[in-house]
Amino acid sequence: MKYDVVIGIEIHCELKTKTKMFSGAPASFGQRANTCVNEIELAHPGTLPALNKTAVRYAIMASTALNMKVDTLVKFDRKNYYYSDLAKGYQITQQFHPIGSDGYLDIETDEGTKRIRIERLHMEEDTAKQYHLDEKTLIDYNRSGTPLVEIVSKPDISSGKEAAAYVSKLRETLFYLGVSDVKMEEGSMRCDVNISLKPAGSPVYGTRVEIKNLNSISNVQKAIDEEIKRHSSVYDAGGSIEQETRRFDEATQTTVSMRKKEGAVDYKYFPEPNIFPIQLDLDWVKSIQDNLPELPDQRRARYMKDYGLGSYDANVLTSNKDLSDFYEEVCKVAKDGKIAANWCISELSGALAKRNETLSTMKLSAVHLGTLVNMILDKEISGKQAKEVFEDVLEGKDPKEVAAAKGMKQVSDSSAILSLINQVLDENPQSIVDFKNGKSRAVGFLVGQVMKKSKGQANPAMTNQLLTEELKKR
């Protein structure tokens, strides 16, 4: 039977602020347990929240980038539940008035561009981190109170691949904004998926299953694909799907049940009395919205327009912001953006992958790579020589110096090349005969001989052209 797949995605994303959402204690990672706290994250009695301005700014940036309406009257609510990692026994969140609403993100699918609507973006606070040992659980409140935004999509996604594209695009967007580290493996971005299947075309939704805590984009896709298979086969066999929460098991690459739904939990949401509604300064909001960092889509379009890149190259570059930023530095020097792009995409990325390094760990300078590109364009060295020089450029060396030290130069003087050509032709009469008999292979052989005589410094393109002309004369 054919099914329609209905998927909605909730993303929790930690904001990269200096301090906590509601307190002036540091929001930092990897510190000694319980050293990035004050009485507020520990929920000592009598403490009150004080809202972080940068967290609000980041939430506005994210909302704007996701094409959302921004509510300039900021309000918070309490979500009440008891759990050992939740110090106050309630979480301060924005249940009733999310700061961002009604947005969307366009993703690329096999069928073309698809718009995924985003219902809401709201600010809230993270919980403490628990370490479960055999006998006991240890609690570290350093993460407690870290600013979060939760971004909830509409159920517009219909496959694992689309889900992956959505999460990846969202991640890229937030990263370009500089509002979050978006490291899924480290938990600074967390993904929950709601999925249900219904008979194709049916107006009635199927039972919804939630898959929690997906920690990579590939797992988002795998988990959904697995879940679609599971639902389909259950439905095909006439069975029914239970409403429950599942997780993706790395070992078996399947989803497994975490807990059955025992009726909806009542979080007893109510407006947070300790935070009066805050009217944001409209000029401030506008200046944030008008000065958003360039987003991936905008950058892609600019690359295609300004550097003449094809959409594939533009995509490859922009999907890696560090590489893309580096590319722009290269282009400040390089006279041809397309050749610079080729070098960044193939040579540079290849070298990084081979060495298992990143741009930040390499000594390589963008100015040097740009210079190298220009040396090729100016026919100072050949492409082959350039690859050799690049090895040293990766180590932080100046390509001009490297080429000079290696005695590399490209002969582009036509009379010098011509003299070499005539020497080679004189020495190889058989090849001339072959050429006249239509054996085009002879040209390749003769070019090789010229290159050899020039010790590889003859400009290959020029050599090819001049040789063909000379052959015709003979």
Binding site: A50, S84, F270
Partner: protein
């Protein structure tokens, strides 16, 4: 002795502080008003750093829900019996800067939830005027210590009438200024949208001085006001000529205690004699009768959430068990008194999804109507007044109240109006009924504390009950 008198003679501050400590210890057997005694030696040693402060060398008692760094703060609850704060409440810093010396943490109803001060884990507080009577609550310890002349100033908190009622019962001035005037940071809460910090003093002028120290914007409290702090004392002239005063008819009608009404009428006549324009004003009776139920819901709904942090994990009196959930349950079961647990149950009931609209949200809607009703009155009048309570302090063992009567719903609880509106409200002694003090309550417009204190001073001038001794 009043604060103002002490300030005139700062040379003897140390003596007075030690005397206050001694009196505090002596009072304990009778009043049981203190949870923790504070040794003032170190504060005395630093006294000269605060020369010229508005509270220089003044011994002060703090309600035990005021966080004091390094000094046990229990809110009179078993669950916080061993809690030692790592931070000071904002007002503690302010008072210390002004030269105050803290000598005691005063008893209160457990977690400030109550009006009798009989629910403290350390036992009931007794009224200095008659040890068989209650001091009132929830700030009963603070009220009793000021009434007994132990300290000239004590901090209280007021969510329904928790300063103004015990002030009436104990015969002292009890003042809560406008919501937001004084920072709540570091005050263990009851109900965030109703909680006010305030003060007990032995004169209206002392209340004015105290306010100047306590008031002011605090960035740690997002509900605190940025309006400038005034020199309140300058405004306290007792000049009521031409002032418009509304007498709350609904409250008067619900009171049957002749002596209370007599005292009240004397004050009213006095105000008229001083040139005030006094009218009897009636508020919507249905709204007034809904005041207590609306309050009960709002306060307890907020309280059940506010105290969800008390789980024994990070602080407080943990009761060990096999699982962490059982730790929470045992800690909270043994840590909270029965009254507290009952109120949390009701509060939570009112917040349930299926009930919230018709209970909590309905209460909040009624709150708006009530606030509109009060502000309608205050559009035409500078203050409204009524007896603070229908009579003197009840006996500690008195269980006779009828919780559905007008007397209870209106006369006993009308001061909640001041918490619903957030308007400044003060209780000033007005006389005795059956040997026990009774007070008059005055409520003014938001942030117009100067005017309210000015008119309260006129009342004090009329009664002559300034710095009066127990038994006067």
């Amino acid at each position: 002795m009043t604060i103002l008198e002490m300030l005139k003679d700062t040379a003897h501050a140390e003596e007075r502080i030690l005397e206050a400590v001694q009196k505090a210890h002596e009072s304990q057997k009778d009043l049981n008003a203190i949870v923790t005694f504070i040794d003032p030696a170190e504060q005395i040693a630093h006294l000269n750093e605060h020369k010229g402060g508005l509270l220089e060398g003044v011994p002060v008692a703090l309600k035990d829900n005021v966080n004091t760094k390094g000094i046990k703060t229990t809110a009179s609850s078993r669950i916080l019996e061993n809690y030692i704060p790592v931070f000071d409440a904002t007002i503690v810093k302010k008072m210390r800067e002004a030269g105050a010396v803290f000598i005691a943490k005063a008893s209160m109803d457990e977690l400030a939830m109550g009006g009798t001060n009989t629910t403290s884990v350390t036992g009931p507080v007794r009224n200095p005027h008659n040890l068989e009577c209650m001091a009132g609550g929830s700030s009963g310890g603070s009220a009793a210590l000021v009434a007994a002349g132990v300290v000239p100033m004590a901090i209280g908190s007021d969510t329904g009438d928790s300063i103004r009622k015990p002030a009436s019962f104990c015969g002292v001035v009890g003042f809560k200024p406008t919501y937001g005037r004084i920072s709540r940071y570091g005050i263990i809460p009851y109900s965030s949208s109703l909680d006010h910090v305030g003060v007990f003093t032995r004169s209206v002028k002392d209340a004015a001085v105290s306010l100047e120290v306590l008031a002011g914007r605090d960035d740690h409290d997002m509900t605190s006001s940025s309006l400038p702090v005034e020199h309140y004392l300058d405004a306290v002239k007792g000049d009521v000529a031409g002032k418009k005063i509304a007498v709350l008819k609904n409250v008067i009608d619900a009171i049957d205690d002749e002596a209370t009404l007599h005292c009240f009428n004397d004050v009213i006549e006095g105000l008229k004699a001083k040139g005030a324009i006094v009218d009897v004003v009636e508020m919507n009776e249905d709204l007034l009768k809904a005041l207590l139920p609306a309050y009960y819901l709002i306060a307890n709904c907020e309280a059940t959430a506010n105290h969800s942090n008390l789980d024994g994990i990070r602080f407080g009196n943990r009761v060990d068990a096999e699982t962490s959930e059982e730790i929470m349950i045992k800690t909270r079961t043994e840590g909270f008194g029965p009254l507290i647990r009952k109120r949390f149950v009701i509060g939570s009931y009112g917040l349930f999804w299926e009930n919230q609209e018709k209970l909590f949200r309905q209460a909040q809607r009624v709150r708006r109507l009530i606030v509109e009703e009060v502000s309608r009155v205050l559009k035409d009048y500078d203050v409204y007044v009524a007896p603070a309570a229908p009579g003197g302090a009840p006996k500690l063992d008195d269980t006779s109240r009828d919780e559905l009567s007008d007397k209870y719903l209106v006369a006993d609880n009308h001061m909640i109006l001041g918490n619903f509106t957030g308007y400044p409200s003060i209780t000033v002694p007005m006389g005795l009924s059956d040997g026990m003090p009774v007070g008059i309550n005055l409520t003014g417009r938001a942030f117009e504390e100067s005017e309210l204190l000015n008119i309260a001073q006129a009342v004090e001038d009329i009664t002559g009950l300034c710095d009066s001794k127990v038994g006067d």
